[in-house]
């Protein structure tokens, strides 16, 4: 008991606040798979909204890229969980992501034209930043299976790329 508390404290010191939460409530591999898949699927939904609403070529191109990349990585994720015989498990983090995304989507649906483009791209920057933070501090360090960890690491590079791409598109909108 003392040892476990000590380890949790050490982890908290090394990883900071997010690490403290992770050490206290470390997600399991089935939960991690669910969170990563959900994060991708939610971004695909948002991108489809942008494709249907936006008339800006850079925004539509970016959104098409999000659909393409997130669907590709989620196909890999599904193949992996099938191979590992892991059933993705719904959890509080996945639910929180879905709820936040639904609220954001409701806001975006009410906007049009340049106001929509700006809000969508700004949300993409923030969303990828948030998911990357979770991948770096919680999901990757918590993953036990090496193949899952490797896919999450590729996912992190992909999402970091999207974050930078979104920042470039945002700069072009001003």
């Amino acid at each position: 008991m003392t040892t476990r508390l000590h380890m949790a404290l050490a982890a908290a010191l090394i990883l900071g606040t997010a690490g403290a939460a992770a050490a206290a409530d470390k997600p399991t591999d089935p939960q991690i798979a669910h969170i990563a898949y959900t994060a991708g699927a939610l971004d695909v939904d948002m991108a489809k909204l942008a494709i249907s609403k936006s008339k800006n070529k850079d925004v539509v191109d970016f959104a098409n890229g999000m659909v393409r990349d997130h669907e590709a990585v989620n196909v890999q994720a599904l193949d992996l969980v099938k191979k590992l015989k892991v059933t993705p498990e719904d959890n509080a983090t996945s639910k929180a992501l879905s709820e936040a995304s639904a609220a954001e989507k409701a806001k975006l649906e009410k906007l049009d034209g340049a106001a929509f483009d700006k809000a969508y791209v700004a949300n993409e920057v923030a969303y990828h930043k948030q998911v990357n933070g979770a991948l770096e501090t919680v999901l990757i360090p918590s993953a036990k299976n090496a193949e899952l960890k490797s896919l999450l690491e590729t996912g992190l590079k992909l999402f970091q790329g999207h974050e930078q791409h979104a920042e470039m598109v945002a700069a072009g909108l001003k």
């Binding site: 590709a72 990585v73 590729t154 992909l158 930078q164 791409h165």
Partner: protein
């Protein structure tokens, strides 16, 4: 006789391009797991750089204000280097992917 005459221009043409093609090389850069590998290469003017995309994501090799090679999933693309200098390139879809080609005079 007439066969010889017809062959002659072909031989001359082959000799004419011979010295160039003997020196020009193709350098392959592989794209895997969101990275160009090797990320830095050295080449000479006249060489070809070929990118082979082994990722399940589409990429580009883009020089800002210069050329762009589209690299769809499981495809390759190439560019012939036409002048000396340092070329920094990146993937336009994932700007965190970066590469550099140092091109020297032939």
């Amino acid at each position: 006789m007439s066969t010889h005459r017809r062959l002659l221009p072909v031989v001359v043409l082959a000799l004419g391009t011979g010295p160039l093609s003997a020196h020009a090389e193709t350098i392959t850069v592989t794209i895997e797991k969101m990275a160009f590998s090797p990320a830095e290469i050295s080449a000479s003017v006249g060489d070809t750089v070929q990118w082979v995309n082994k990722d399940t994501f589409a990429h580009t090799a883009t020089v800002k204000g210069g050329w762009e090679v589209m690299l769809p999933v499981a495809k390759s693309g190439s560019v012939v280097l036409d002048k000396a200098g340092t070329l920094d390139y990146f993937c336009r879809f994932h700007p965190n992917m970066k590469g550099r080609i140092t091109v020297s005079a032939p």
